[in-house]
């Protein structure tokens, strides 16, 4: 620590810290455009010039390291003259279109020109004009407004990990853009809107729909992945106009994913169910809430055997809703409750930790020295986790991946093992064998035999050595792995590898609130207190047809693994209650009553993220139509069912109950440890196996209705991808239309040759429209030429 003087005030600062940081920490304002604390220093705008004693000229505060005893003046005549001069230069080419600029009212340039600009211009020559570029459906450009701070360029290079924007040309002709007509494809791209200090980059979706000062701002938590990024939901008259990032250095730094930024369009969608509906004599009709709830409860009551009822719930609704749903079901007498919609192998569910979490804090991810990521397209599944892993990798962490697809990562993988899902167990056996050899640990029961015939490559060895030598290492179970057959067996080996190399076994879970679901007991095999129970899991509930179902926040054709099986079960059920935000054909076909559920932003609640952080929020936007918060709907159902303990007056009261049941469960290394049980692979080899990743913009009903996101490159996934070797074997060509066949169900699709896909696999994502007519995501599949 050294002491410096800024504007006569003594300030403590770190030796070598930049002047601007010290001033920021001491709440002394220095104007700036190019400096951003989470980006590298460019020092190109010169707005931050200040006077330092004994320095002959003003110096840029963002690029001047502190030394002991430095005397700084940010407001002296000299400093001010320099700041004003820079301002004058910047304004030469800046248009005067503030009245129609979306940034107006929150523009740094506007603000600083009040502080440092002249009221009269000496410049009478022409201003330069830059043609706007089309950089895709998310970001609007008005590059005449650009002041060349290069924040957007540095963001691409340093944070997004793909440099898409650049500064081409030179001097007066320099332009920020992509040079060629191209969309910005990073899943984090929207952050450059927040970063741009002027109105050169604004949101295409929100454009011209508000003036900043009309917006009410609401602190909120993003609800599309297990990270729980902090966001600010901004509304005008109760309607969401935009979502921006909110800083939280424990979770998402200053960034959010495009999915969290633009998904609100889905909340405002015209598909929203606005009134309760009931089906009588095959006819849908609107009903009052009282009638609809009574109708729903009567229908379920008519099924006298409670074990004939099943409830499945979205993993992205609030903890309060989850808690009440399981409380209702258990109160009625059924343990058939689940939120694990895509998991198929439940054989080791009793070995799950109290809740499957990261085993560390999100902020600790960047300190990892080594990791093995299994079955995960992390940057698309949990974009902010991708960011943290990238930071780790930039700090020289060695990250290996084992995947069925050679995804483009935003970090440089140390080793890449690409194998068909059915072969991934084999790869894990090789890694486990390498772990035995390298660590010298004694093999637990049966492992030596299991791995006896395995070949261990140099890459396997290197991966294990990295984990073994690292101070901080993690074996990370990706979201995709949890949906695969033989998940239990693969997890067991992952657990062994973690154990042997003293790494944390980490989980990246589906949806926004898997942690909340575990802790509120939304599981067939455990209640809220973690005590064991005996109910049917999601797959069993649909394989063994139930007579009645409650679908909570779910679209049955998209959200559950093996949609054909789900459809069958629902078609054969006596009574189906859907509590849903949307109305859709699939729901109308299978349900008997539709109860309009408010969106997550329309009610108070709590989400628990993957590192176990509980985050509560208040309603941010106005409920659409007559939709109601889930906890209120369930409270009335509880009362109508005469289940006791449903007299909640507020969501906070529900939360208090969850808290007392959950205790202070945390996710840590010890808690995530698995006890050894020799695994074996149970599923048979198939000639051609499907890979059913859940694509970034198909994860839930809200995202699927966010129009701009649906126009991005990442949303164009409606085709069957195979690699060239597989294509040759099947005699299928790029672009050809084929029939994809699973269990006799058939869908026509065009084929795209993609050499990132593992051999003998067909990549057809889950959650997309055409997959609704197919079966199990990782099951056998056939492609037939037409």
């Amino acid at each position: 620590m050294v002491t410096i003087t800024i504007n006569g005030k003594q300030v403590q600062a770190e030796q070598g810290q930049m002047l601007i940081e010290a001033a920021d920490n001491a709440d002394i304002a220095i104007p700036r455009f190019c400096y951003h604390k989470n980006l590298s220093i460019a020092a190109n705008c010169r707005m931050c010039l200040v006077e330092v004693e004994k320095a002959p000229k003003p110096v840029p505060a963002c690029a001047t390291p502190i030394t002991d005893g430095m005397v700084v003046n940010t407001k002296s005549t000299k400093a001010l003259a320099a700041q004003q001069a820079v301002m004058e230069f910047l304004l030469i080419n800046h248009p005067l279109d503030c009245p129609i600029c979306d940034q107006g009212g929150e523009c740094d340039l506007q603000e600083f020109s009040v502080g440092y600009g002249k009221d009269k211009s000496d410049y009478y020559e022409v201003k330069r004009v830059v043609k706007d570029k089309n950089i895709g459906p998310l970001i609007a450009t008005e590059l005449t407004r650009c002041i060349h701070c290069t924040r957007c360029v540095r963001f691409g290079q340093e944070i997004a990990g793909m440099r898409e924007m650049g500064a081409t040309g030179r001097g007066d002709w320099m332009e920020i853009g992509t040079y060629i007509e191209k969309s910005i494809d990073s899943e984090l791209s929207g952050n450059i809107i927040d970063l741009c200090p002027v109105g050169a980059l604004t949101s295409k979706v929100s454009r011209f729909t508000y003036r900043v000062w009309e917006l009410a701002s609401n602190d909120f938590v993003a609800a599309h992945d297990c990270i729980g990024s902090n966001i600010n939901v901004q509304t005008k008259n109760g309607v969401i106009k935009r979502v921006i990032a909110r800083e939280n250095n424990e979770i998402n730094d200053t960034w959010i994913s495009d999915r969290d930024r633009y998904s609100f369009e889905g909340i405002n969608s015209a598909d929203r169910l606005t009134r309760p509906m009931i089906k009588q004599n095959g006819q849908w009709q609107e009903a009052s809430w009282d009638d609809a709830l009574q109708f729903a409860v009567n229908g379920l009551k008519a099924i006298s055997d409670a074990s004939e009822l099943g409830a499945v719930c979205s993993p992205s609704v609030t903890t309060e809703e989850m808690f009440l749903l399981q409380k209702l079901m258990r109160g009625i007498g059924s343990n058939n409750i689940d939120h694990r919609l895509r998991q198929t192998d439940f054989s080791a569910q009793d070995a799950d930790p109290r809740f499957p979490g990261l085993g560390m804090k999100l902020a600790e991810v960047k300190n990892l020295n080594a990791a093995l990521l299994i079955g995960s397209n992390v940057r698309k599944e949990q974009p902010i986790m991708g960011h943290h892993l990238r930071q780790a990798s930039l700090n020289s962490a060695q990250i290996a991946v084992l995947n069925p697809v050679k995804y483009e990562q935003i970090f440089k993988p140390a080793q890449e093992f690409i194998a068909a899902p059915s072969q991934m167990f084999n790869e894990l056996k090789s890694l486990a064998k390498a772990a035995l050899e390298i660590t010298g640990k004694t093999a637990p029961d049966g492992l030596a035999d299991l791995v006896a015939g395995q070949t261990v490559s140099d890459a396997h060895k290197a991966c294990i050595e990295n984990l073994n030598e690292a101070d901080n290492a993690a074996v990370i179970i990706g979201t995709m792995l949890q949906a695969m057959p033989d998940y239990a067996a693969m997890r067991m080996l992952a657990g062994f590898i973690a154990d042997a190399t003293d790494s944390v076994l980490s989980y990246l879970t589906p949806g926004a609130n898997t942690s909340g679901a575990y802790l509120s007991g939304l599981l067939p095999n455990r209640n809220a207190a973690g005590e064991s129970a005996d109910g049917l899991d999601t797959q069993a509930m649909f394989a063994q047809h139930r007579k009645g179902y409650i679908l909570f926040g779910i679209e049955p054709d998209r959200d559950i693994e093996n949609p054909v099986q789900v459809q069958n079960a629902l078609d054969n059920a006596d009574f189906v209650v859907a509590v849903t935000m949307y109305q859709s054909d699939a729901l109308q076909n299978s349900a008997d009553v539709l109860l309009p559920l408010s969106a997550i932003t329309e009610a108070s609640g709590t989400l628990i993220n993957v590192d176990g952080t509980w985050q509560s929020f208040q309603a941010a936007s106005k409920a659409i139509g007559q939709s109601k918060p889930g906890w209120k709907i369930l409270r009335v159902m509880g009362n109508l069912f005469d289940v006791s303990g449903f007299d909640y007056q507020s969501s906070e009261e529900v939360l208090a109950d969850v808290k007392s049941a959950a205790g202070d469960a945390v996710t840590d290394k010890a808690g995530n440890k698995l006890s050894w049980q020799c695994p074996d692979k149970s599923t048979a080899e198939t000639a051609l196996q499907r890979i059913a990743e859940l694509p970034i913009y198909a994860v839930d009903a809200v995202v699927r209705r966010a129009e701009a996101l649906q126009q991005t490159a990442d949303a164009q996934v409606n085709c069957a991808r195979i690699n060239s070797a597989t294509a040759e074997k099947l005699k299928i060509e790029d672009g050809q239309t084929v029939s994809a066949v699973q269990d006799g169900h058939l869908v026509d699709m065009s084929v795209s040759i993609d050499d990132r896909i593992a051999d003998n696999c067909v990549y057809i994502p889950a959650g997309i429209e055409s997959a609704a007519a197919l079966g199990g995501g990782y099951n056998a599949i056939e492609l037939k030429a037409k």
């Binding site: 290079q157 793909m162 440099r163 898409e164 924007m165 650049g166 500064a167 081409t168 040309g169 030179r170 992509t178 040079y179 060629i180 164009q716 060239s724 790029d734 672009g735 795209s752 040759i753 993609d754 050499d755 990132r756």
Partner: protein, 167 residues
């Protein structure tokens, strides 16, 4: 949208690759981008004096760089061309020293003689006229560069002679 294994850098011919490798050898293994200027010059020569988008992408691929990074370099420096040029590219300096020594006259004379404006190419594809900034030869102002040669202390007569001497 198919993603197959054919590399964009296949556009660079064997000879050019060899040339680029010569430059690559001068830099550390993990800093291939240091050779970008040389690589761009080499592929530009390979292509008859100008760069195409595909060639810039090929350089990006060969040097493991982001494409936009290559575009930035290729649009910053005036020796890289983005449209076809004539056999002889005449780069006339019009910066300060040259201007005060009469570069205006030089440009005028060239434009009249070749019947083209700055930035254009003659119909027979023999000459391209290009305006450039200071080439560091102020002591010989006014000047221009053709190919790898500087021609200094220009006068209209001298220019006629120089052009007549070009094949």
């Amino acid at each position: 949208m198919s993603q197959t294994t054919q590399a964009p850098s296949d556009l660079i011919n064997a000879e050019s690759k060899q040339d680029i490798d010569h430059w690559l050898a001068k830099y550390p293994e993990d800093q291939k981008q240091s050779a970008v200027m040389a690589a761009l010059r080499i592929v530009q020569d390979q292509n008859g004096g100008w760069l195409t988008l595909e060639l810039m992408d090929a350089v990006a691929d060969y040097l493991d760089m982001d494409k936009i990074h290559v575009y930035e370099v290729a649009t910053f420096y005036s020796m890289y061309e983005h449209k076809p040029v004539g056999k002889h590219k005449i780069c006339v300096c019009t910066n300060l020293s040259c201007m005060s020594c009469g570069s205006g006259k030089i440009v005028e004379h060239l434009e009249e003689k070749l019947h083209i404006k700055l930035g254009e190419t003659t119909e027979d594809n023999q000459f391209t006229l290009k305006e450039v900034e200071c080439l560091g030869a102020c002591s010989g102002a006014p000047m221009f560069q053709i190919g790898e040669h500087y021609y200094e202390n220009l006068t209209p007569e001298k220019i006629d002679e120089i052009l007549a001497g070009l094949k």
